[in-house]
């Protein structure tokens, strides 16, 4: 049992396919039979040009969207067989999201944005602790409009990790940030991964970031074109673009 659990991948996909605008002439095959297996605990970078289907994959793995074909599992549970209600439960219990545009609720303070998650999670971190982890203890009572982009994104990370998620899914977390603030955000992700062993998936079209990953998946035209494992990882602080 323990043997099996240890070797069970956190995510597995078989022939995962997503087609937008099905049936019409403007049909887009965003995912084209993707096969994938990700082990627990790694920081994985998903690399690929814009429009290659990265977000689509992340959304399906995160339970935000349904696949058109193929199957996907989270720790042995089939995501592609879940109802909307089950997917909601799954997101609530296991998934932490970080988005490119932070998606903080503007009328809530940093602490309250984190509390949006701790209010509904089963074993959450205290909001203050989550904010301390990303170095924002001094900003707890600030509203998003009073914070820089990097700070806002770190609040988003604090919010994502506050539920102690099984996986952390980050869609271009540094996409809207300059290199220096982007680095602090990456460092925060690295820190979370190292401390809690949370499997972390980071989407980027920025090749420099791959150097901090355990594993890099290259994506093109809705397909995985290469999976590589880094022997030596570069600390986030040394990455720039």
């Amino acid at each position: 049992m323990t043997e099996a659990a240890a070797t069970q991948p956190v995510f597995r996909a078989e022939g995962l396919t997503k087609v937008y605008g099905e049936g019409s002439t403007a049909e887009v095959r965003a995912l084209d039979a993707v096969d994938l297996s990700l082990p627990e605990g790694e920081l994985v970078v998903l690399l690929g040009p814009s429009g290659s289907g990265k977000s689509t994959l992340l959304n399906i793995l995160g339970g935000l969207d349904h696949a058109s074909g193929g199957r996907a599992w989270f720790r042995g549970t089939e995501l592609t067989a879940m109802t909307d209600r089950q997917l909601t439960r799954y997101r609530r219990d296991h998934v932490g999201f970080v988005f490119q545009f932070y998606n903080l609720v503007p009328s809530l303070t940093a602490r309250e944005n984190v509390e949006l998650v701790t209010d509904v999670a089963t074993h959450p971190l205290p909001a203050e602790e989550a904010l301390a982890l990303v170095g924002l203890s001094a900003r707890t009572d600030h509203f998003p409009a009073q914070m820089s982009g990097g700070e806002q994104q770190r609040v988003a990370i604090a919010r994502a990790i506050a539920k102690r998620p099984g996986v952390l899914l980050c869609d271009e977390p540094t996409g809207a940030l300059d290199s220096r603030t982007g680095t602090t955000v990456l460092a925060a992700l690295d820190e979370v991964n190292a401390r809690f062993g949370t499997t972390t998936l980071v989407i980027t079209h920025n090749a420099g970031i791959r150097r901090m990953a355990h594993r890099v998946i290259r994506f093109q035209d809705g397909r995985v074109v290469e999976v590589s494992v880094n022997d030596t990882r570069v600390p986030a602080a040394e990455i720039s673009w």
């Binding site: 959304n59 995160g62 935000l64 969207d65 909307d84 209600r85 909601t88 439960r89 997101r91 609530r92 219990d93 998934v95 999201f97 988005f99 545009f101 998606n103 609720v105 009328s107 809530l108 309250e112 944005n113 509390e115 949006l116 998650v117 209010d119 509904v120 999670a121 919010r159």
Partner: protein
């Protein structure tokens, strides 16, 4: 204290940020709640209070009168199936000579059985009831006593059947028979000028010449009795004795007036609140629709965080819920205040032993529930849309609204519309339903004003027709019973009398086919100046030498047209019926009317002309002498000083009109501001970028405001004719609704009425628009363009 969840705090802050819009909606909703609460609460309170009062004082179920019926008939009536109790009384009229009052007052004398009344029991307020054996002891209505400054122990003089009696007051009472104590010939209660006087039976019978007899009878029924059968039996028993026909409570004057008030309140409760609730629901709908559109990304985020669809729907419903709570609290406050005001008015016009005030929690609960339901209904579409939003879609930016070239664009090109003009037009057509609903909402503001000033104009017309064209006399002398025509000459010789015209009122039943109506047929000599009959175009008509004139309402009820024969049955003389043709139909707003020439009627009745009242024109300078003289006129039942009735009626009406106008203008302004402000705010929110871009391109503030407010202006202008039409429709409904035997309301719609309604609502719209315009002036161009949307 419970810790607020983050989502709840978002809710509170969002509502606070939108407080102006929320308040505007809450006020509209509050109007609905207040009117519903007041109207339904007062209906309930009036009905409950009246029912309790009736039960405690054993108010009769059936009423009848006769000319003079022997007391032995009472036993016969008690035997009628379904009758629980019977009580006969001697009743009559008195002219009162009060110490310190120049004018004569009138009194209604009721006999009091020696063992005490068992039906229509007077409720003692002060002192004691008169001793059954006393000759000159009486109890009087408490209101009359208070208004005249009379207390138990005081005395006054009453002229009854030509005899002057000195009476001593032993107590003050009130009675369910005169909750609304309309004096004879009066239009409103007159506490000082009208008294109900309870006299011990023996004394009353001898004063009224009714020893061993009664002329008024009241019956109570057993549960489940058939009133129609009892009425028939009573009529059969009384008809040889000049019975004028038994009736139920619905024809009892005081009861009928309270019924009229109740049905008016009820129609107000049914007609007005739905308008407010509908508009509030619409406003919640557009505001929440906008918020959900703006918060797409936040909704997507909440879903990504694992919030359930239900939790998200509830979040947005709660926003409407907060508005509903605010509106309900405002409505409860305003409604309680309004109800208190109405209770005060009722206390002035109705003589109840307790204050009529809605006490139950149920009208509060219902009004709150309905308010909440209206807001929720308005929020439902948006809340469900938010819940249904697919999370992956919600996170993506929304597709820009598609504009297509349409016929309108081509038409606009022909019209040579400027670019801003084009933007206004496109904006209108982008959300045609919303534009239509906004216009409809503004139209309701106009309609409410049209309908309320219609009531003012209609009452003016009624007063003008009734008092300046129909009843033009200064005073009327009502005589105790039928009197030979010569009395007119006597009246003409009273001091100050310039002109005297006799009248003869005969209680009759008019029949046409199976339809019948009981009323007083009025007869007079030709050439009258003081009392006139008007045709349906309000022009005076002469009484024809043959045939009958009847009012239009009566004609409708009996389905009579000119030329039809109508059967006239004098109520108090069985077997003397005759037929006359309908000569013409008259217009009349107060009561029902049937008129004949006095000679013609006298010929039909085979009697010399008789008189029951004399109308007088007076010399104002000789009023004091006239007043003093009336206290001495023999065979006088009561005097109606019509010019005083007129004045007090007009004062009361104009006081009411002032109050109602204030109320309805407030309501219309609240609706208009609520709709216009929210409409313009939402456009501002939707067009912020577009407008900021225009500013950056070099358009001036007023040009930009034109784009923003042009749409509101167009909708407000379109709302005017629509509002006039809806208001006229409401007026027509009111005319039909108020159509009763007591009065009728003419449909009076004037251009001035429409113009005022439009001025007020356009002014309110402009004020709301200017509030929004201030925001355009304060645009921070950079930040508007930077915000992601």
């Amino acid at each position: 204290m419970v810790k607020l969840h983050a989502l709840d705090r978002k809710l509170l802050r969002d509502v606070w940020r939108l407080r102006a819009q929320a308040l505007a909606i809450a006020l509209v909703l509050g109007c609905g709640v207040a009117i519903f609460l007041t109207a339904f609460g007062m209906v309930g309170a009036l009905e409950a209070t009246r029912a309790e009062y009736y039960a405690e004082q054993r108010f009769a179920d059936i009423f009848a009168s006769a000319r003079r019926a022997p007391n032995a008939l009472l036993g016969e009536m008690a035997e009628i199936d379904g009758v629980r109790a019977v009580e006969g009384r001697a009743t009559g009229w008195a002219v009162l000579d009060l110490p310190g009052r120049a004018a004569a007052a009138s009194g209604r004398i009721l006999s009091l059985p020696p063992e005490g009344a068992r039906i229509n029991v007077p409720l003692l307020v002060e002192g004691r009831l008169p001793d059954p054996d006393a000759d000159r002891e009486v109890a009087v209505t408490a209101r009359f006593a208070a208004a005249s400054g009379l207390r138990p122990g005081d005395s006054f003089a009453a002229i009854v059947e030509g005899h002057r009696l000195e009476l001593v007051i032993t107590g003050a009472v009130r009675t369910p028979e005169f909750i609304y104590a309309l004096p004879p010939g009066g239009l409103m209660p007159d506490d000082e000028g009208f008294a109900v006087i309870w006299m011990p039976e023996r004394a009353a019978a001898s004063a009224l010449g009714l020893s061993g007899a009664f002329n008024d009878v009241a019956l109570t029924l057993r549960r489940g009795a058939d009133p129609a059968a009892v009425i028939e039996a009573v009529d059969r028993i009384l008809s040889p004795w000049g019975g004028s026909g038994a009736h139920e409570r619905d024809l009892q004057t005081s009861h009928a007036f309270i019924d009229a008030e109740i049905s008016q309140l009820r129609s107000m409760a049914v007609v007005l609140p739905p308008v407010f609730f509908g508009i509030a629901a619409f406003l919640v709908n557009i505001v929440l629709g906008r918020i959900v559109a703006l918060e797409r990304a936040e909704i997507g985020l909440l879903k990504a965080l694992g919030y359930r669809n239900r939790e998200i729907a509830v979040h947005y419903l709660a926003m409407a819920g907060l508005i509903a709570v605010a509106g309900t609290l405002i409505g409860w406050g305003a409604g309680t205040w309004l109800a208190r005001g109405m209770a005060g008015l009722y206390a002035r016009f109705y003589d109840f032993p307790w204050l009529v005030r809605p006490e139950g929690w149920d009208s509060y609960a219902w009004s709150g529930l309905i308010g909440l339901a209206a807001a929720s209904l308005g929020a439902l579409r948006s809340a469900l849309a938010a819940a249904r939003l697919a999370p992956a879609v919600a996170m993506a930016p929304p597709a820009p609204p598609r504009f297509r070239r349409s016929i309108v664009d081509r038409a606009a090109e022909r019209l040579n519309l400027s670019q801003p003009g084009m933007m206004v037009l496109r904006g209108l057509l982008r959300w045609p339903l919303r534009a239509a609903m906004t216009s409809l909402g503004l139209a309701f503001g106009v309609a409410i004003l049209v309908a309320s000033s219609f009531m003012t104009d209609a009452l003016d017309r009624v007063i003008d027709i009734a008092f300046f064209r129909t009843f033009r006399q200064h005073a009327t002398l009502a005589l105790a019973g039928e009197t030979p025509l010569g009395v007119t000459l006597d009246a003409a010789h009273l001091p100050g009398v310039l002109r005297a015209e006799p009248q003869y009122d005969l209680p009759v039943t008019l029949r046409h086919g199976h339809l019948s109506k009981r009323l007083a047929l009025n007869a007079r000599p030709p050439g009258g100046e003081l009392m006139r009959v008007l045709d349906t175009s309000d022009r005076p008509v002469e009484l024809p030498p043959e045939g009958m004139l009847i009012s239009r309402q009566l004609a409708d009820q009996l389905s009579l047209v000119v030329g039809d024969m109508v059967l006239v049955e004098p109520s108090e003389r069985s077997g003397e019926g005759f037929e006359v043709p309908v000569a013409a139909v008259t217009g009349q707003y107060l009561g029902l009317g049937a008129y004949m020439d006095l000679d013609a009627l006298s010929a039909r009745l085979r009697q010399a002309p008789r008189v029951t009242s004399v109308s007088l024109a007076l010399d104002p300078a000789a009023l004091p002498e006239f007043r003093a003289a009336t206290k001495q006129v023999p065979r006088l039942a009561f005097v109606i000083m019509l010019h005083e009735v007129r004045d007090s009626f007009r004062d009361t009406i104009s006081e009411n009109v002032g109050r109602n106008t204030l109320l309805f203008v407030t309501i219309a302004v609240l609706i208009t501001v609520g709709v216009a402000y929210n409409g313009a705010r939402i456009q501002l929110s939707e067009r912020a970028r577009e407008l900021a871009s225009l500013r950056i391109l070099g358009f001036t503030r007023s040009e930009v405001s034109f784009v923003l407010l042009g749409e509101t202006a167009v909708l407000a202008l379109l709302a005017q004719p629509l509002g006039w039409a809806i208001g006229s429709g409401i007026a027509v409904l009111m005319v039909n609704g108020f159509d009763s035997d007591l009065y009728r309301v003419p449909l009076v719609l004037t251009p001035a009425n429409f113009a005022t309604a439009s001025l007020v609502t356009l002014g309110a719209t402009a004020a709301a628009a200017l509030l929004v315009r201030r925001r355009v002036d304060r645009f921070d161009l950079v930040s508007v363009l930077k915000t992601r949307e």
